[in-house]
Symmetry: C2
Subunit: 192 residues, 2 copies
């Protein structure tokens, strides 16, 4: 399972065996059953999560509604966003499936940075990459209609369509479940 982590890291930076060992020694691998709430909106936590197996959902409550804003599948990580400096989190995080995760916190990060300065390089590279991806996604989102956004999702993250309830997908696309249902109907009509 930890091989998945190393594979992912080595997209960015080749690491030594000593560095691998340092990571494993932190004892950060954890499993959770489906439906586990890892973090509740309003709670303070410094944990960060990286998905080795399974699917996470990040969401928040607004006007009594649950708004789903992001999913994290294998090889994706919940950045410190929800877990900053002991501030109460704006978001909740829950597992949508049984999950194997890497759970770390900033003090572990500090230890790693000190012992292996290259981890800081790694984190910067990962951050820069994430900024880039997020911005492209946001820009596309802005300049698309709900229908185009759904088609785009079908293209880019087809797994989500299978793994996630539609009302959560709808929220993720910034529309109502009813609207998503109609969009799907519209698309099948013209596609067959």
């Amino acid at each position: 399972m930890q091989e998945k982590l190393f594979e992912w890291i080595e997209q960015y930076l080749i690491i030594t065996d000593a560095e691998k060992k340092a990571l494993v020694d932190l004892d950060i691998f954890r499993s959770y059953p489906k439906g586990t709430v890892l973090l509740n909106q309003g709670e303070r936590s410094r944990n960060e999560y990286f998905v080795l197996q399974g699917l996470l959902r990040r969401y928040f409550e607004k006007d009594g509604e649950e708004k789903t804003v992001e999913f994290y599948a294998e090889g994706e990580g919940v950045t410190p966003i929800c877990t900053v400096n002991g501030e109460p989190s704006d978001y909740s995080i829950a597992t949508l499936e049984e999950c194997t995760l890497i759970v770390s916190n900033s003090s572990m990060g500090a230890i790693l940075y000190e012992r292996f300065p290259r981890f800081e390089t790694l984190c910067r590279l990962v951050s820069d990459d994430l900024i880039l991806k997020t911005q492209v996604i946001f820009d596309n989102f802005k300049s698309s209609t709900p229908e185009e956004r759904y088609i785009h999702l079908l293209d880019k993250r087809p797994d989500l369509i299978q793994r996630v309830p539609q009302y959560q997908l709808a929220s993720f696309l910034g529309i109502t479940p009813e609207s998503l249902s109609r969009i799907r109907k519209r698309l099948t009509k013209y596609h067959e």
Copy 2:
């Protein structure tokens, strides 16, 4: 003018005089008149821009339309997004006002990282901060109506309303200029 840069940096990390000098020695301060296109969609460039004075706009062409996706005012920087590894840029960048900018490229970054490792820490902190801000903005955007998004903009970046043509703001909000015009009308009606 360079004081502005140091002020901004020291939100994240206090730097020494030697480090300040290293920055200034890179000779990175540049001025551009209003309307200068710094980067054209499709061009390759490794430059990064940080705004000391003035306003930048990032945009791209889609269906023959110019889609404005972001503005960068004083103290904001165009991250390497448009300027990755010699890939043709997905975006254009232009000045909306006369600008004083810091123009740097990744080779300068590499020099700095080597001579002053703390710059890598700085960049990571800045990146993490940007990820956080961008995600919060995106999440709000997703779960808001166009009208709410405009009200939010009024609240968070009132300067933009003054400094940017409305049709570019509309695009930035993901709507048509006509729609923005009607939203403004609606709001003044109920507000006075």
